[in-house]
């Protein structure tokens, strides 16, 4: 507000000139900006033209705009709207029938897995960064940090192979260990815990393995933020007699609060989005009820079955919900007095 008031009376008559002067002075900066902008245009914005596929019948060797319009058919199919028998059943029965569709199951699973990831997984790197920050021995700290972020570089296929070695029912490490113990103490045969086949246990494994893979890497950004906190604050606190825990809670945490908020907003914005590798590599037929998420649904339905329109429709839906969540959490964070990301 204040800037606007000072600018209007002085700047108004010479607005165009001023811009020119400004541009001629800083044009190099804009030229440099042009490169990433062109990248975004070509790879992020122009492909959006193909969103119209959601309302078209895809045919090979045809120009996009020449393809036949088919209306909302693909959305109706994707959202399983035909399953309902509105006239015959009650509204609740109809809704139930619709929600039994694979797409809604995928939406449910996506949100469920992402929320669990958020609740359980989000605080872990923060706590880790705080703890690591307290370590005095520099070399030890470095080693721990490096070891912790190593798994980030493993592909999910490898991680799944590792978890098979550890969690498999018949010859997984944990089950063999328990089986050995049971045999030793009771003499009974142990049947094995179905970590990867029982849907509930699978979700636990999925979340824990996810945290294991990413907490070290995610903590880097918090550690960087911690370095930015002025040491004077700590010194002042020490003078005032604050102990370590108090310093952590009253200086470090508030110091990295903006970082936490920004990352939280992005995580919430991503609540209906999901990576593809992790759920796809980790799933198996036993747990498909909880493991099929939107990205894998799009892959099996859209790419494998060559139903490109359906996957476009679902992708569009996903993006729209993602934007709503993003804007919502941004608005909320501004309301709460923090700065948002835009």
């Amino acid at each position: 507000m204040a800037t606007k008031n000072t600018q209007t009376p002085v700047g108004a008559p010479t607005k165009g000139r001023k811009a020119l002067v400004y541009l001629s002075r800083y044009w190099q900066l804009y030229a440099m900006l042009a490169i990433p902008m062109v990248y975004f245009l070509i790879f992020k914005y122009l492909p959006m033209e193909y969103i119209v596929l959601a309302w078209k019948k895809y045919t090979f060797n045809t120009k996009l705009w020449d393809m036949e319009w088919v209306g909302w058919k693909h959305f109706i199919k994707a959202f399983n709207l035909n399953a309902a028998d509105w006239g015959q059943e009650s509204v609740i029965e109809s809704l139930k029938a619709i929600l039994r569709g694979d797409f809604w199951l995928a939406v449910r699973n996506t949100i469920m897995l992402n929320l669990l990831d958020l609740f359980i997984g989000f605080p872990v790197p923060i706590i880790f960064a705080l703890v690591l920050n307290e370590l005095k021995l520099k070399r030890f700290k470095k080693v721990v940090q490096t070891v912790a972020y190593m798994p980030h570089f493993l592909s999910w296929v490898i991680i799944y192979s590792l978890s098979l070695q550890i969690f498999a029912t018949s010859d997984g490490f944990i089950n063999q260990l328990i089986g050995w113990g049971v045999q030793l103490f009771t003499g009974n045969k142990f049947d094995g815990i179905r970590f990867l086949s029982d849907p509930k246990l699978w979700v636990c494994v999925y979340i824990l393995v996810g945290i294991w893979q990413s907490f070290g890497w995610n903590s880097i950004i918090y550690l960087a933020a911690i370095t930015g906190i002025s040491p004077e604050l700590y010194e002042a606190a020490s003078v005032d007699g604050a102990n370590r825990l108090q310093k952590m809670i009253h200086i470090t945490l508030p110091g990295i609060r903006p970082t936490i908020v920004v990352l939280l907003i992005m995580a919430i914005g991503n609540i209906v989005g999901s990576g593809f590798d992790r759920p796809f590599a980790m799933r198996n037929n036993d747990v498909m009820d909880v493991a099929n998420v939107i990205s894998t649904f799009v892959y099996t339905r859209g790419i494998l079955n060559s139903q490109f329109e359906l996957s476009t429709a679902v992708g569009l839906f996903q993006s729209v919900i993602g934007v709503i969540f993003l804007l919502g959490s941004n608005w909320f964070s501004k309301k709460m007095g923090d700065r948002g990301i835009f």
């Binding site: 607005k15 001023k18 811009a19 400004y22 541009l23 804009y30 042009a34 902008m37 062109v38 245009l41 070509i42 914005y45 122009l46 019948k57 895809y58 045919t59 090979f60 060797n61 045809t62 120009k63 996009l64 020449d66 399953a83 039994r100 694979d102 098979l164 498999a168 029912t169 018949s170 010859d171 063999q176 089986g179 094995g192 990867l196 086949s197 198996n284 037929n285 036993d286 498909m288 099996t300 339905r301 790419i303 494998l304 079955n305 060559s306 139903q307 490109f308």
Partner: protein
Amino acid sequence: MRKKALALLLVAACATQLVACSGGGTGDTGSTNQNKPDPGKTNQTEDANGGSELVDGKFKETKKITVEVYNRNNDGGTDPKTNMYAQYIKDGMLKDHNVEVEFVDVSRWEEVTELNNLLAAGTAPDICVTYDYATIKTYADRNGVQDLSKLVEENKDITPHLWDWLGETNIYWDKDPETGTLWAIEGKRATSNRIVTFIRQDWLDELKLKEPTTKKEFEETLIAFRDNADKLLGENADKMIPYSVSYDVGWRAATLIESFIDPDISQREFYVNGFDDRKLTENGTKEAVRLLNKWYNDDLLWKDFTLYGSGDTTEDDFMKSGYVGAFSHNWDYPFRNGADSINASLKRLVGEDAKFVAIDPFEDSKGGHTKYVTSTAGDRKIFFPKTNDEPLASLLYLDWISDPEHIQYLQLGDEGVTCEKLADGSYKSIAATGDAIINSQYNIDYTITCNGLNLGDAAKTAATMANSYAEIEPELVVRANEIANIDAVHEQNVNVGNVESENGMGTTLGEKRDICYDKAVAAPVADFDKTWDQYYKDYMSAGGKEIQKEREEKWVSTYGDVQELPKK
């Protein structure tokens, strides 16, 4: 201010891009539209004149075509695009027809995905091959495939090998009875064998058991394997898997499932319930799975079979290491891949007499051993994408590759390098090295119109087949081949035209079928009915029921209200 400049820049860049893009776009389609009719026209005139461009079967000007070939990425394999056999075909086609051939490799295990992408990009090979007809129908529905009906008919006289080998049956197998369109030509199976059960002969001997011939005996044998794990496997006793199935239960327990189907089932019922080639919806399947479920809970199956997906070799490694007592699979599965085959590995890793032999233990309700095997078709389907500008040259390729002489060379390779001639005129395979290594048994990836050994003469073929698995005793192959043919029921060609509800459902329903099988087999015994019913219902409501309904209607409208196909 800054915002404005930015916005301006954005809009300007956007506009230029759009203009450039749409300009290029129209230019492209314009040129293809102009080009498109031309080759079609010249082809038509060619066809009408019996190929005026052809002199002695050779084009005056060199034509270029691209041909799909599977890439199996096998260990120590050769590059399918350029190896000795690819070169043989290239040289032959250039010499005989003046056609330059280029191979495009497509992963065997991701074929449909790759074809999707190639077709969408307009860069699909001129000759495409896939096992799944539903996929081709989807492509055709999306205007991606050429109608071959005219082409094959008009060039009958210059493609004698093709017609001799495939015949009307396979060429017109997929011809739409209503519209007359022909989207694909069916390659031919030289063998119709499908699935056989194998058991460890040496374990039977060690436990002094006789070969099981009924389900009851088979179960008792599995129990004996389980209970004698210490004796059979020593310190690896906990690795014992009496009977092994994979996530693909419908394939890997096929003979067991088929034995539960009513042997007198009508062709109509079999067809109506038969969209799923793993027979999930045939009557009787549920009881077969119930038996598997019992076995699973009695520790007779591999506990972790659901955790390993397609292409994973864990289960094969168990077989090779000797932990598996019995399994069902493709009729020659333990013999494939020479020194790396299951039986050769067993011999090396476990002991001289360790081996899998074929048995036939699953009796049906009438005491027979019904096996639903393929017809001569039902193998690879060959189609030409719309982007193929050389349909005639491509058709000549199919003719060339169906020439018995060429088939024989590709199947056997060079004498002294990949095979040696025996006294009776048949051939024995020898392990090849270097560029002569054959990636797929009998080079079936090249002989796209022929799957399975075919040397013209039946006796010679049989003798050669028995000797065609390097490091495997011929008797084992002969036996497996015999068992695979006991009470074999060949697939019939039910062609009722386009069944709309099937289009694009293959992968989705295939996935649901696997889940239904897997969940039901691995459920606690008490929950079996509940589990099966739940996932079966899911399969049906996801499209299975609709397909059955439409198949029933189409059957009646094509053949009338009868139970069997009309006799030919």
